[in-house]
């Protein structure tokens, strides 16, 4: 059966009553097309992000939609309609241009179902003008019966507009994290999962840092084990630049560690970025680590920031609190309002701080704030008596710190490292929500 735009038919009439079918999309064009299937609710919204089936999430939770054979100009979606849960009313098959171009430039293209009698819906550039993303077709329920509609309508705004149409968050322009205006009730920048940002990040990883992909997968596995598969947080690295760290830097051990932190940030943060603070005798804000600069990051860092002759924790902790929260007072009551998402600080050092009391106080005050401090000591065991004490510091609103030590960052393999980094953080998250430092959900 040949279908025209606007036409609607019963799926059973095409597939000889089968609810198993494959939808094949082929868009012939000079540019790359990203194909996705959105499983939307009765209001036409993507209320469950897991029902966006695309290259980085190729199967719906119910198994009713599977992306097969995904290439730059064609894709197939294998459907088992009987599996689709009642909350999902419609499956929308979409195509979005990656890069420059409009749908007016496509050659004759098709959506095809070969099961049973099958059908072909043909369309071409003549059907469009400035659209950069299309809803090609929909399979939807009406009065309990599955139907197919040939749509071929779209959005000049491309993928962003398509996602917004389904109620998803549209990517905001990339704003550097500015300290909020000084107000004791400022909270960290909200990090609600943004669907388009997430997709863009996945693409950027593929293009700019493919060597990170397997490390990111390991991070993902570890996070999922801790129930943090969908978690979002700002990731902050706090690095010791005291002189004793010298050989660790020069031997590339810190750089190797940085890559693991970037992999974690690619799961926690839709920008895939890590904020960096340094401490020796003084404290400094360093450039952000990104997918573009992570490979040479430590090399450049050490050129720019000479190592210092001392170790002082409290100043950098104050600086970190100020940066994310707009304040670093001697807090003794919970920061309000509850924050949308937390800050995860990786605090790496090879020795104790000169002013212990000041550091203890910072951990104490920060316990009233949505920041988790993951201390990691590098060096021989026994050198971290103070940090071990820090972990057990009493009088805090809740336990906002964890500590472990390694003789070198490579002592732990990737899985072990990620697992160790998530040792106490999930528990703190729960408590922080219960005690209203963080919003629920």
């Amino acid at each position: 059966m040949d279908m025209i735009r606007g036409q609607k038919v019963k799926v059973a009439d095409i597939t000889a009553n089968s609810t198993h079918l494959t939808v094949e999309l082929q868009i012939n064009a000079a540019f790359t097309i990203d194909f996705s299937c959105f499983g939307v609710d009765a209001a036409g919204k993507l209320s469950d992000e897991r029902y966006m089936t695309f290259f980085n999430q190729p199967q719906s939770p119910c198994g009713g939609v599977k992306l097969l054979n995904n290439q730059s100009n064609q894709a197939s979606f294998q459907l088992a309609l009987a599996n689709i849960p009642p909350a999902i009313e419609k499956l929308v098959f979409t195509a979005a241009i990656d890069g420059i171009g409009t749908m007016a430039q496509i050659q004759p293209s098709t959506l095809r179902i070969r099961d049973g009698q099958g059908c072909v819906f043909s369309f071409s550039g003549a059907d469009f003008q400035a659209e950069r993303a299309l809803m090609v077709a929909e399979i939807y329920r009406k009065d309990g019966v599955w139907r197919l509609a040939a749509v071929a309508q779209g959005f000049n705004g491309g993928l962003d507009a398509l996602v917004a149409h389904f109620g998803g968050e549209v990517a905001a322009p990339n704003s550097a994290s500015n300290p909020p205006s000084s107000s004791s009730s400022a909270s960290p920048a909200p990090a609600k999962p943004s669907l388009t940002k997430r997709i863009q990040l996945e693409k950027r990883i593929e293009q700019e840092a493919p060597q990170l992909i397997s490390l990111i997968k390991k991070a993902q596995v570890s996070l999922e084990k801790s129930g943090l598969g969908e978690h979002r947080a700002k990731v902050c690295l706090c690095l010791d630049i005291s002189a004793s760290m010298s050989s660790l830097y020069s031997k590339g051990k810190i750089q190797a560690f940085v890559e693991r932190i970037v992999a974690l940030a690619c799961r926690f943060d839709d920008d895939g970025e890590v904020d960096v603070f340094l401490f020796g005798q003084k404290c400094h804000r360093a450039p952000v680590i990104t997918l573009r600069n992570y490979q040479q990051y430590i090399g450049h860092l050490i050129e720019h920031f000479p190592l210092e002759g001392g170790t002082e924790y409290s100043a950098v902790m104050k600086m970190i609190r100020q940066h994310y929260l707009g304040g670093n007072s001697d807090r003794q009551s919970p920061l309000t309002p509850a924050a949308e998402s937390p800050v995860y600080v990786m605090f790496l050092t090879d020795g104790a701080t000169a002013n212990r009391k000041a550091a203890e106080n910072q951990v104490l005050y920060a316990s009233y704030e949505p920041i988790f401090w993951q201390f990691m000591g590098i060096g021989p065991t026994g050198a971290f008596e103070f940090l071990e004490k820090l972990d057990d510091l009493r009088g805090r609103y809740l336990d906002n710190a964890d500590f472990f030590s390694v003789s070198s960052p490579q002592e732990l393999n990737d899985e072990q490292l990620f697992s160790r980094l998530m040792n106490e953080y999930p528990k703190w998250l729960e408590q922080a929500k219960q005690k209203q430092l963080l919003v629920r959900g």
């Binding site: 735009r5 606007g6 036409q7 609607k8 659209e131 040939a150 749509v151 959005f155």
Partner: protein, 191 residues
């Protein structure tokens, strides 16, 4: 009680709503969410004699001729995008003012400039046409244009017709190829 009509359905209005004197035809649809030319649906009425043709050109009721000579069929005005809740265009048929030589009123829906814009009802979201009893706002019949008229751009929804001393509504639900001009021509209008 609203009856969702497929083709050929037939409702005896006098029986269904014996006190009724005025019928309201309501046409509604959603504004276009995607980019492209707006969907402009038009409700159109033809006041016909017993030969099935208009008595005069003034019996062709549409956005440029909002009522016939007797004022028994009145168009509520043009809506070019579907903006607004509820019915976006209406035609009021006042049976009490209907002269003796009128046998029926044909109610149609047409997409404006469908050929130029390459549009059909299937592309429009939630397009419907219905007919209500004005006295109590009860819906007598409804046709889902988006679903059941999907490949059409013009549709004869139904006819309100005289049957002895009764008035009946017959659902036609028939597509028409060719747009407003040919449609009007088929009812005897000089276009």
């Amino acid at each position: 009680m609203a009856i969702s009509l497929q083709k050929g359905g037939n409702v005896n209005l006098s029986k269904e709503a014996p006190t009724m004197t005025k019928m309201v035809v309501g046409l509604g649809w959603d504004t276009r969410a995607t980019d492209g030319a707006a969907f402009d649906l038009d409700a159109v009425g033809f006041v016909l004699n017993n030969a099935g043709k208009v008595r005069a050109d003034g019996d062709f009721i549409f956005f440029n001729n909002k009522q016939n000579a007797e004022g028994s069929v009145v168009h509520g005005g043009d809506n070019r995008t579907g903006a607004g809740d509820g019915d976006d265009e209406t035609i009021i048929i006042d049976l009490s003012k209907m002269p003796a030589d009128v046998e029926k009123v044909a109610v149609c829906v047409v997409i404006y400039d469908a050929e130029g814009r390459k549009q059909n009802f299937g592309q429009v979201s939630r397009a419907y046409v219905r007919i209500l009893n004005d006295a109590n706002q009860q819906e007598v019949a409804r046709y889902d244009l988006s679903e059941d008229g999907s490949t059409e751009a013009a549709m004869i929804f139904g006819e309100v017709y005289r049957n002895g001393s009764d008035w009946k509504f017959k659902a036609v639900g028939q597509g028409f190829k060719g747009g407003l001009g040919p449609l009007a021509g088929s009812f005897g209008v000089n276009v």
